[in-house]
């Protein structure tokens, strides 16, 4: 497991992400240090999942850029909020977890001894020993989430992106998964998670980005989750402004620099 050592710093430069020209993340600037544990919080529709999709390389920016410091666009392992997995697909837990090895073994090589050991270790880490030969449809929701985490372990990427990983998960499983996240960070991996459970954020994530389409606050978790910021984030308007005009902020910023104040 040497994936952690390579974690690059991630720089967001005036980043705007969205769909159909509508920004979901608007002019975001900031830097995520290697090995950081960053929680992304905010109301529904604040652009949290969109930001993760952008970081995962699944959504091209409408403006600005994400800079991985020269690392590959596929440096991140990504757990989406809604997994489009057909649970009826005939595949057992071991093979499902082994999917994580794809980036290393490619389409044609077989799993060698080291990879098989990695898969077995990942299954043990998430507590699914004994489930190896069960098909996905026989798993409960929480067990499925554990299997997804096992696949993330096998992926062994320097950056881990988690989109609301703890929905409908029991306390014991959350504790196990938080321990795993702590281990990832100890290995030097960057973990970025979208979360609604503020107590979990306070427990496990030193840094918080409070997002409401625009950045409300980005910094130390204790400062981020104060009442003033939370109220401000909640005040965001979810609906689109039907008559929204083109955003000219970049041009204004450029002009500001020319102005002599």
């Amino acid at each position: 497991m040497n994936g952690g050592a390579r974690a690059p710093a991630i720089r967001l430069v005036n980043l705007t992400l969205g769909y159909d020209r509508r920004p979901a993340v608007h002019h975001l600037d900031g830097e995520i240090a290697p090995g950081e544990g960053l929680a992304v919080c905010g109301p529904n529709g604040a652009g949290k999942s969109t930001l993760l999709k952008g970081l995962a390389g699944l959504l091209a920016p409408l403006g600005g850029a994400i800079d991985f410091g020269g690392a590959s666009r596929r440096a991140a392992a990504y757990l989406p909020q809604v997994v489009e997995i057909d649970r009826a697909f005939p595949i057992d837990v071991r093979d499902f977890v082994a999917m994580g090895a794809l980036a290393r073994i490619g389409l044609w090589a077989a799993l060698n001894g080291a990879e098989r050991a990695r898969v077995a270790a990942a299954i043990e880490t998430v507590g699914l020993v004994g489930f190896e030969s069960r098909t996905l449809e026989t798993l409960s929701g929480g067990q499925m989430q554990r299997a997804l985490f096992a696949r993330l372990i096998v992926q062994d990427r320097p950056i881990v992106l988690l989109d609301e990983p703890f929905g409908a998960i029991d306390e014991a499983t959350i504790d196990d998964l938080l321990a795993l996240i702590a281990r990832w960070r100890a290995e030097g991996r960057t973990v970025i998670a979208v979360l609604h459970e503020l107590d979990i954020v306070r427990r496990a994530f030193p840094q918080t980005l409070l997002l409401a389409r625009e950045c409300i606050f980005w910094g130390d978790t204790r400062d981020a989750l104060c009442q003033k910021n939370l109220v401000q984030a909640r005040a965001m308007s979810e609906a689109f402004d039907e008559r929204a005009r083109e955003c000219l902020r970049d041009e204004f910023d450029a002009k500001d620099k020319l102005h002599v104040h």
Binding site: G57, L58, Y78, P80, D86, F89, P90, L102, L107, W108
Partner: protein, 289 residues
């Protein structure tokens, strides 16, 4: 008696041997593709695409008459255009993929029938719609066998990508450069097999030899590594049975093959060990833990 029915027709008549080879080739590659179509919940997309091939073949027919290369090329282009257009329409417009596929293939089918009837007789139209497995010439046979070989090789090469794209497309797209390419490869293989199949069985029947053996195989096993060869074997058996039945009763061969597959599907639905009627209605006693 047994030999007379099951062996003699193929030993005596070359056209029966050709029909057997052509339909076997079609079943061997088409049925495993059908297994993936079912897993991707695209069973009806295969049907739609088989209709979409028609106008292309019709244009080929208008340009060059009953010429295999012209009609094949036309069918291939039309099938790929509809597959890509439906995919693009659902991605770039508000229309869902199944709705846009339905729209495209309906227009396509109407266009095809109109084009054929503009020039040809009804006999030609019947030939295009229902094929003529007992009239396969060397060129048609080579194409069927070639398409079958190519399909099996590509499916083997990209098996892992096909499985992952079916199970978790987002994961494949995020982790591998093959993520964008695999769905198109799959659709291209489906169209290729349908085009090859329409020579032998006609556009309306080509999809039957793809879907019915695959649907039947799914009722016997949950294991994909078993379902794929099983579907191919069921398809091959149905082709053989259908040809024998057609020879005995002088029923048209294409429908006879599909009917044979239909019988196997019904039997599987009742007796299938993985989700068949009897197994679901009379489950075994539950376990201790």
């Amino acid at each position: 008696m047994f030999i007379e029915v099951f062996v003699t027709p193929f030993a005596d008549y070359e056209f029966m041997r050709r029909a057997l080879v052509g339909s076997l080739a079609l079943a061997l590659s088409g049925a495993p593709l059908g297994v993936f179509l079912i897993l991707r919940r695209m069973s009806l997309a295969g049907d739609a695409l088989s209709h979409a091939i028609l106008p292309g073949a019709a244009v080929g027919y208008l340009v060059a008459g009953l010429s295999l290369p012209a009609m094949t090329l036309g069918g291939l282009v039309a099938g790929l255009v509809v597959a890509l257009a439906a995919g693009a329409a659902s991605r770039f417009t508000a229309q869902r993929e199944d709705a846009s596929l339905a729209a495209f293939y309906l227009v396509s089918l109407a266009l095809g029938v109109t084009l054929v009837s503009l020039r040809g007789s009804n006999v030609d139209l019947l030939h295009v719609l229902f094929g003529s497995v007992v009239g396969l010439d060397d060129a048609a046979l080579l194409m069927l066998v070639g398409v079958s070989t190519l399909t099996l090789i590509l499916m083997a090469l990209f098996y892992r990508a096909l499985v992952m794209d079916t199970l978790d497309p987002l994961f494949l797209r995020q982790t591998s450069a093959f993520g964008e390419f695999t769905p198109f490869l799959f659709l291209a293989l489906v169209v290729l097999n349908l085009v090859a199949g329409f020579q032998a069985l006609g556009t309306l029947m080509a999809v039957g030899v793809m879907m019915l053996p695959a649907a039947a195989a799914r009722l016997w096993t949950r294991d994909l590594a078993v379902a794929l060869p099983l579907a191919a074997a069921i398809g091959a058996l149905c082709c053989y049975g259908g040809l024998v039945f057609s020879n005995e009763t002088s029923a048209p061969t294409g429908p006879a093959i599909i009917l044979a597959a239909g019988v196997v599907y019904l039997v599987s639905m009742i007796f299938g060990r993985a989700g068949g009627l009897l197994r679901l209605k009379r489950p075994r006693r539950h376990l201790e833990g």
